[in-house]
């Protein structure tokens, strides 16, 4: 049972037709999430991580659409599901947390009512039941004085409190999967720390599986068991956080890890990845990372570079065909010192 993934995204493709051409925002992304697990989806801006998350729920911005691929949630394909079916799933079995609580929350509705909306709509609870549920959730997510705060409007709350409200809304129907899109990016580091700790506690208490989209590798290190690294619309490396962070097998992952200003290491010149992410209207042929890759060789310039499993059944995979160069590089100079 534990081996059947709760979410299985297979070869997902999302196109956004624009006047200057079609943007292949997600271009054959695949990853799986086992029940109870937290998966970090990381990459630079424009790598397609948020689009992937939105595609799962059928919340793509116009005119974006899924062109092919499957999104299997508990075995059911959401990519081809009807709008009505998606509405049943959203908020009930799958909860969502967005980056900007101020734009994601309804500004003219009291937060208590917003939390109670889910139980009212999906669980068939009465008003008083739903209200009691809202207060209970507010207490659980650490909002002081929930009786009074439930009457507040979003603008009356601080950024951290608003994000707590978002979490309460996401958890209101006891979803089995929670999708978080940069939930702490807009917050201060102290508040981010509070929210991350809260999410960890909620995962434990509710046994919910989580997909965590972020650009911050350290946040992934602290919250997720598994990680999928995205570049130019594709997943280029997956595995457990432990494996991927300590022994990356894709030059992009390695470059990202090396460019993070490290809090725990003394001052030194930072490594960086030269160049910029490719234009997704016309991505480079061959491996999409080759124009920026310091290990690129001739055979990187043409052909397809699908995820290649490393060891059967481990879920560890890389799209790089010269991944041994990363291994050699890391053995010379570890990414994380106390390996």
């Amino acid at each position: 049972m534990t081996d059947t993934p709760i979410l299985d995204v297979r070869d997902l493709r999302v196109d956004i037709p624009l006047s200057r051409g079609t943007v292949h925002a997600v271009d054959g992304a695949s990853f799986a999430l086992r029940p109870g697990e937290a998966l970090g989806l990381v990459g630079e801006s424009g790598s397609g991580k948020s689009m992937t998350l939105r595609a799962i729920l059928g919340l793509l911005p116009n005119p974006g659409r899924i062109v092919s691929g499957e999104v299997l949630f508990e075995g059911q394909d959401l990519a081809s599901a009807s709008a009505g079916r998606l509405r049943e799933v959203r908020g009930a079995s799958i909860g969502m947390i967005f980056q900007e609580p101020m734009t994601a929350l309804n500004p003219v509705m009291r937060v208590g009512d917003q939390i109670a909306e889910g139980p009212l709509a999906h669980l068939g609870q009465s008003r008083s039941q739903a209200r009691a549920r809202a207060l209970e959730l507010m207490r659980k997510v650490g909002i002081p004085d929930p009786e009074r705060r439930s009457h507040a409007y979003p603008h009356e709350l601080s950024g951290g409190m608003r994000q707590r409200v978002m979490i309460a809304i996401a958890l209101a129907c006891e979803p089995r999967l929670m999708l978080c899109d940069e939930p702490t990016t807009a917050l201060d580091v102290t508040i981010q720390d509070q929210i991350l700790k809260l999410l960890l506690a909620m995962r434990r208490d509710f046994g919910v599986s989580v997909v965590f989209v972020t650009h911050d590798l350290a946040v992934v290190a602290q919250t997720c068991e598994r990680v999928a690294v995205m570049y130019a619309g594709q997943v280029v490396e997956t595995g457990t956080v432990e494996e991927v962070f300590r022994a990356p097998r894709h030059p992009y992952t390695l470059g990202l890890l090396r460019s993070v200003p490290r809090f725990d290491l003394k001052r030194q010149s930072l490594d960086s990845i030269p160049g910029q992410p490719p234009d997704l209207v016309l991505p480079p042929p061959g491996c999409r990372f080759h124009p920026r890759c310091r290990f690129a060789q001739d055979d990187c310039l043409t052909g397809e570079f699908p995820l290649r499993p490393l060891g059967a059944g481990s879920g560890r995979a890389t799209a790089c065909i010269h991944d041994d160069v990363c291994v050699a590089d890391v053995s010379r100079n570890p990414v994380i010192a106390n390996a």
């Binding site: 580091v189 946040v219 200003p261 490290r262 010149s269 930072l270 570890p334 106390n338």
Partner: protein, 349 residues
């Protein structure tokens, strides 16, 4: 101190009056006052890179803007090379302090090419003879690592990192002595962040710049700065040389800030949050020590007495009643100790 600091700020205050109106005045309702900067003393030595960190709303950007003269402070004084700067600064006084802003998307004029931006500055300030303006533009754009073709492009043609390079070139056009960089990399992706940070570091050694580096990311500050000042609700609560601050933080706020930074090393996590609660509003600053509402070691005295920045016979200052009397409290991040151990093991490599 062997030499007078390049810049000295004494008891600076910046208040913004909110919700004042004729009606309120007629009713004798006292206007609400937001005390963004509330008595800051700060010195920056020539050639130094000083980091200014704190949560959003602590007044760090306001302080930076007061220093370069974008705001007129409501109190205190700014001394530059020992001389007090007047409220209306002369052109040459303005020239010597320049600023790089956080958002490279809104801080460049979208209708001007890079050449127009740079040459306007060079002409207005008579930086070089008219005939040499073009040559100087090329030098500047080369200095920040962009090719000469960039000169005829508009900001919209650049990525975020490139725009930030243009902003830096603009600041450097006036050959400033002090560069105030207000969160110059927080709008950028990590891989690009690194290149801009390295550029700032190079420029600093190449041009002998003095820098005030405003940031909320402690890791970034550790990479760039010689000394760090921690700000909380309009006040500096701790300042020390960078390594000293990171290895031996004495103010409970600094300790909490450091503990809250997520680490790249997988799996280090304590259950409890590093710091509870939200920062109080700068409209309603708590009595006594302004941190006491969130402080894990607050005592009776902290509710009534406002601690001043005090040293322990060195360059390390902290504004806490217990900074130097008690051993660092038990909650001082064990992670820091571990990181130090990791440092030690990484050093020979």
């Amino acid at each position: 101190m062997p030499e007078a600091p390049l810049l000295e700020v004494r008891d600076m205050r910046m208040q913004f009056v909110l919700s004042d109106s004729m009606l309120r005045r007629a009713r004798r309702v006292t206007p609400e006052v937001l005390r963004a900067v509330d008595g800051v003393d700060l010195q920056i030595a020539r050639g130094e890179a000083l980091g200014l960190v704190g949560e959003s709303g602590c007044g760090k950007s306001t302080l930076g803007r007061c220093i370069v003269g974008l705001y007129e402070p409501t109190g205190g004084e700014i001394r530059y090379e020992g001389e007090q700067l007047p409220v209306r600064r002369s052109r040459s006084q303005r020239r010597r302090m320049q600023m790089v802003f956080q958002d490279p998307y809104s801080s460049l004029n979208p209708r001007m090419t890079v050449r127009q931006v740079l040459s306007e500055l060079l002409r207005v300030h008579n930086m070089v003879p008219r005939k040499a303006v073009d040559e100087r533009c090329r030098e500047l754009i080369d200095l920040v690592g962009l090719g000469p073709r960039a000169l005829d492009a508009h900001p919209r043609n650049f990525s975020g990192g490139q725009r930030q390079r243009v902003s830096i070139a603009r600041a450097l056009a006036l050959e400033p002595e002090l560069l105030v960089a207000d969160e110059p990399v927080s709008a950028l992706d990590v891989s690009v962040q690194a290149t801009v940070l390295n550029l700032l570091d190079d420029l600093r050694s190449k041009l002998g710049l003095t820098m005030l580096f405003i940031a909320h990311n402690m890791a970034v500050v550790r990479h760039v700065c010689d000394r760090v000042a921690v700000m909380y609700l309009g006040r500096i609560v701790e300042t020390a040389p960078t390594e000293e601050l990171f290895s031996n933080p004495r103010h409970p706020y600094t300790q909490g800030l450091l503990k809250a930074v997520p680490r790249l090393v997988p799996g280090h996590q304590s259950e409890a949050a590093a710091m509870e609660g939200d920062p109080p509003s700068p409209i309603n600053v708590p009595s006594g020590c302004r941190f006491h509402t969130r402080c894990p070691i607050a005592q009776e005295v902290c509710h009534t007495d406002d601690p001043t920045l005090a040293a322990n016979g060195g360059p390390h200052l902290a504004a806490c009643h217990f900074a130097w009397t008690t051993a660092p409290p038990a909650h001082v991040p064990e992670v820091i100790a571990e990181a130090e151990a990791a440092d030690a093991s990484a050093d020979p490599a």
